[in-house]
Symmetry: C2
Subunit: 474 residues, 2 copies
């Protein structure tokens, strides 16, 4: 291994390899749940360096854990405890490579943050619509590896739908150049879709070409109290019928969210005298002027019977609504450790999910405190369960609570990971809920592309039962 | 083989197996270019029957050629000349399985036509936006297998982007049920994207779940003369800046198209006294009323300096414009046999492509008659070359003309198949223009999923050099 590390240092130059204290921040995940140990942290500057280091790893039989902004919620970017894996950080590959406004595309390196891509698009009067709570620090590569979602998926799609081309370093260090900026390309199997969402287990994404969109000039935002989740779904369809498919965000917020915000984020002014049982944060966007769009939204809400909706009368109002929505994760973090779920069901099944999941959880854990919110326009809810224990030891109840929640999800033909991915957190759950055939197909693909199993081993799917020292961090 | 056929007949029942004259229509492609021979035509009624017949084929070592509406332009659905392949038609699996309006999804069997799906969506006040010249006869399975595009891709995407879930019968007859109707689902490798666009070489698609969209109440359509392709691209971006991303179609039409329409489709009234060198057919759609939208489009066109645009003042006007656009392929067919290309380049490179490709083709074939038109909003042009010879014998010049056209495409980082797929027509071109690594990855996947190579053999990609009797139809 000394040979390996000195070869690696020679390859990557000064600042290219971190060990000891300098590497500590990369080895603990952002939930502070998984603590890894690594041979070192490698920080390549170019695709060529990634290719060379992957070849070096292949020669020495070293496994690789790729890491972007280290914002995974599932332990997907943390090495195991063996100390034999190499963590590869893309933070020095953070260039915006090209903006082609006439083609409505942008090309960025894997280590560019989502916020950087948004900003470069905005400078060309275009929109890059990916946006979520961590998008200031999330990087392109990690966001693609987990097919991240966020608050604009309803109109613009997930990272997958925003992507036209990829460059990927394969397990043997060869570079696949699929950096095509084309809207239509039917030339055989679509390789990019294999790597997107594969969490670095099939190849290391080094660059991507994304679609851009017209920058909407006008936005209108409202907080709308609804009788319940079924009324929220009906409101979404009513708004779409009235004003077309320009509803860009449609977020459900439950009363517990307002209570947590009031207690743990008191610096944020509350919009309601009494928090409503259920409410929706709606945003629509369009060309034209804010005032005309706001009038259209307000009129549609009145026509649909929501006269008491709180409409944002200024960008400041809208920002205040969004600050509340985006602070729900932080308010939860301040409350303590919870059992988190990131589920999706058909949108039509959202009301059934909320009713049945609460019943199931309360039947097993009568004192459970359930915090539900999220992207109901995508059928995606964050469904978090607090118990009396507010520390990491609460995770001993995670399997039992998961069984209750995911049982309802499975019954409703939903998914146990909507936008956070699998990592190690949900790997065994995935193996439980997906069909043996589906798992077999995934293993076939993994084996075809990474026969030695050296790319982010034991994340997403295990090739064989765990066998001692190289087990994944959980 | 007699055993095989009698087992097959027993499995599929009366009308389930066609041979002799009854099978003739399935064995000639719609361009009348590829004539296949088959053991028989199998017409399963259910997924279970597909699974059983695939198992039967596996037991007898019989290869399978799946066929939808037989509208392939690339020979993708025609068996080879060996007489040893089984053609599987999905025409009896044509049910709309479910419409879930609150989830905005529709589930259909592989043999349902695109028009059937459109109609079922409309009945639920929703839009299924896939639409192209052959969509009345194109079937779901074939459209997915080729990731078909069409005239609404600019706003809604290709078949791939419209698809949420699939059911697929694998090479060994097992059934993968991936019929999930979810907008977000990040649970390991996204298997559906492997099968979409694979032209039946990795599995047989039997059912799909599609997204639906709000049915736009208002449409506005215009024919706009432009100075040239660069002005067309600028007009697209100008319209999007003025009225947002609700431009749903943006079709470029060259003068030769109008001349062919005048000569070969004289029943269609021509909108111009003198055909313009270049013009664009624009359609925008929205909620609200036609009149308001039309005014918005007309105002935007005036603001952008296109005062003389022909705006459709009634649905009849709009239909007449579209009838002309959709009849270009028919006018070409009546003119004779041409060398067809379905290319895409970055939208910003469309002007360079048209200039350089014409130069290249005319340098080798000074008398060439070039007909160019298509979905310029997607960077996708149909680029067809007529020579003096109007019969199938003109195809002897196809390799030389392809080399000229695809050379320009490759230089501009484009693709030789935008929306028609590869089939047999472009298989060897694909092998020429894609990198050896990309081809190797495709072969790895093919071998992993269809190790015996019995699913649509020699379409898209050849596993090994041709070896006599089982070669593909060309």
């Amino acid at each position: 291994m000394n040979d390996f590390l000195s070869d690696l240092s020679a390859l990557l130059g000064a600042g290219g390899v971190l060990t000891g204290q300098a590497s500590a921040g990369y080895l603990l995940d952002q939930r502070r749940r998984w603590q890894g140990v690594a041979l070192a942290v490698a920080r390549p500057r170019h695709t060529d360096e990634v290719a060379a280091l992957v070849k070096l790893c292949a020669a020495h039989g070293v496994s690789i854990v790729p890491q972007g902004g280290n914002t995974s919620l599932c332990g997907g970017a943390t090495p195991d405890a063996s100390g034999r894996q190499l963590l590869v950080s893309f933070e020095r590959m953070n260039r915006i490579v090209a903006v082609d406004a006439a083609n409505d595309t942008i090309t960025a390196e894997a280590g560019a943050t989502i916020a950087q891509v948004q900003q470069a698009a905005r400078a060309a009067n275009r929109l890059f619509p990916a946006e979520w709570a961590a998008s200031a620090s999330s990087q392109v590569g990690g966001a693609l590896a987990t097919n991240a979602g966020g608050v604009n998926v309803l109109h613009y799609g997930n990272m997958r739908e925003l992507t036209l081309g990829l460059e990927v370093v394969l397990a043997d260090g060869r570079v696949w150049n699929g950096l095509r900026g084309l809207r239509k390309d039917n030339t055989g199997y679509d390789l990019k879709h294999l790597f997107i969402g594969a969490e670095g287990t099939l190849g290391l994404i080094t660059q991507a070409v994304f679609r851009l969109y017209p920058q909407p000039a006008a936005h209108a935002t409202a907080l709308v109290n609804v009788a319940g989740p079924a009324a929220a779904v009906a409101l979404l369809r009513g708004l779409q019928a009235a004003i077309g498919d320009r509803v860009t965000s449609f977020e459900l917020i439950s009363r517990r969210c307002w209570e947590l915000l009031a207690r743990y984020c008191p610096e944020l002014p509350q919009p309601h005298a009494t928090p409503p049982a259920w409410c929706v944060l709606v945003e629509i966007s369009d060309a034209g002027a804010d005032a005309a769009l706001l009038e259209r939204l307000a009129q549609a809400l009145v026509d649909l019977g929501f006269e008491d909706a709180l409409v944002a009368h200024s960008p400041g109002d809208a920002q205040a609504f969004w600050a509340l929505r985006e602070s729900i994760p932080e308010a939860q973090r301040r409350r303590g450790v919870s059992i988190k779920h990131d589920i999706a069901v058909p949108i039509s099944a959202i009301p059934a999910f909320l009713e049945q999941a609460e019943q199931a959880v309360k039947s097993g854990f009568p004192g459970a405190d359930i915090v539900a919110f999220g992207h109901v326009g995508d059928g995606n809810l964050h469904y978090n369960v607090f118990l009396d224990d507010q520390t990491n030891s609460v995770y001993c109840h995670e399997p039992a609570i998961n069984r209750l929640v995911y049982g309802v999800v499975a019954q409703l033909e939903g998914t146990l990971s909507a936008e956070h991915g699998i990592g190690v957190l949900k790997r065994d759950e995935l193996a439980h809920y997906r069909s043996p055939l589906e798992l077999e197909l995934m293993r076939l693909i993994k084996t075809a592309l990474d026969p030695a199993g050296r790319l982010n081993p034991d994340k997403v799917i295990r090739l064989e039962p765990p066998a001692g020292g190289t087990a994944a961090p959980d």
